[in-house]
Symmetry: C2
Subunit: 242 residues, 2 copies
């Protein structure tokens, strides 16, 4: 099965959580909006958003096409890929637990986005700078440690060896936590350096994911887009203050 991933072509964004799972599982996939062939590109992505294609209507990218099935919402796509490619446990209760963690990671991502866009996605960052400074300060003081404390505690409570969030093998939630830590190190380097020191299990998981052979190869490849100031994780030094 060759998958088709649909996501904005110039940012990692929420599509990156899906890319990491596809790459780690060794799946073949087309990153449709980044391709220049006929029937690809952003125009093809827009056809789905505008309801011009059959199947489940996505509200926003990313969405994944698997055969004729269209699946939207990152966490939902990951649940689907996880089951198919061994990135989630077999036991139903453990699968729900992985998905619970993923949804908490998704909430965290929403909050990270809103540090630079607290008022409206339709306005530029510069048009909401005052609110962004307030929101970022609260994020760094309260929310960042709260989320890190939570995942550190989840790792500490996992009785299995290996350092993963659930059980003894990596799941899609581990890959997503890696991505969030990497993104936060880009966006808030000073704050992350300070706070990650107190979250050794999260830091170790971040390192372990980076060293997985397929992930390491992917991160070195041109398929991995660089972070930039159009995505979720943006480096605005003025926002990176304790």
């Amino acid at each position: 099965m060759r998958y088709e991933l649909y996501y904005w072509p110039t940012i990692q964004g929420r599509g990156e959580f899906v890319r990491l799972a596809l790459e780690d599982a060794g799946c073949g996939y087309a990153d449709v909006a980044r391709e220049r062939r006929k029937g690809a590109g952003v125009a093809q992505l827009m056809r789905y958003l505008e309801g011009k294609e059959a199947g489940a209507l996505p509200f926003a990218p990313p969405f994944l096409k698997a055969g004729r099935q269209v699946i939207g919402q990152s966490a939902n796509i990951l649940a689907f890929l996880g089951e198919r490619h061994g990135l989630t446990p077999r036991r139903p209760a453990a699968r729900l637990w992985v998905q619970q963690l993923q949804l908490t990671l998704a909430d965290w991502v929403d909050e990270i986005h809103d540090t630079h866009h607290p008022i409206a996605a339709s306005l530029y960052y510069e048009q909401q700078l005052r609110a962004a400074r307030l929101r970022s300060a609260d994020f760094i003081s309260h929310r960042l440690p709260k989320f890190l404390d939570y995942f550190e505690q989840v790792l500490a409570r996992n009785a299995s060896a290996g350092g993963w969030l659930v059980g003894a093998r990596a799941t899609y939630a581990d890959l997503s936590l890696f991505q969030i830590v990497t993104g936060l190190q880009y966006a808030f380097p000073r704050s992350m350096a300070r706070v990650l020191r107190r979250h050794r299990r999260v830091a170790a998981l971040h390192e372990a994911v980076a060293q997985r052979p397929r992930i390491a190869a992917y991160l070195r490849s041109p398929r991995r887009l660089p972070f930039n100031e159009s995505g979720i994780f943006r480096h605005y030094p003025v926002l990176d203050r304790p």
Copy 2:
């Protein structure tokens, strides 16, 4: 199976999406934090958040206890209950589609919350009023019609009769859409009256859910908490402007 729902005792909040599913399915459940018996109340909810109980650690309420299993994140709880109690289709692809819609509804709920709390949940509304006015204006102008247009289109594209989002029977996503429309009518009565007129399928679904016998009985019961200005849907007239 008698479930235990854990949620803050004085607001509908995100717990209400779970309550509606439990009520519609006719499940027996304890609303633990609202009970005064020993081993109940907010103190018992806090024990889970503080990691003093076994099982999947929740980041935040709501969470559901089913036997010894603890399940967090509203959409995840609904997927679990939906499968068990006929509130989601049997076909895996259709289940993913219902969950995709639920996750989009959850995103909408996050945005509704942030209309009155755009800067920080740790601050009072009054401390972020200026930002709340800006964010609410953008929400009413752009996001509210965008989400309503989307769900109207999903309803129009469903080939099955009945007026539900997916297939020919109500799912947990229909119950959640009902709750969001009801909450928005409370929070933004002027804006919603104006915009809902152009979304007749959503309005009809809202009416159809309200008339389901178990939902109707629940809405009349003391188990249904009133909306108030501590929950997600808050009525601040100054924010309800075009």
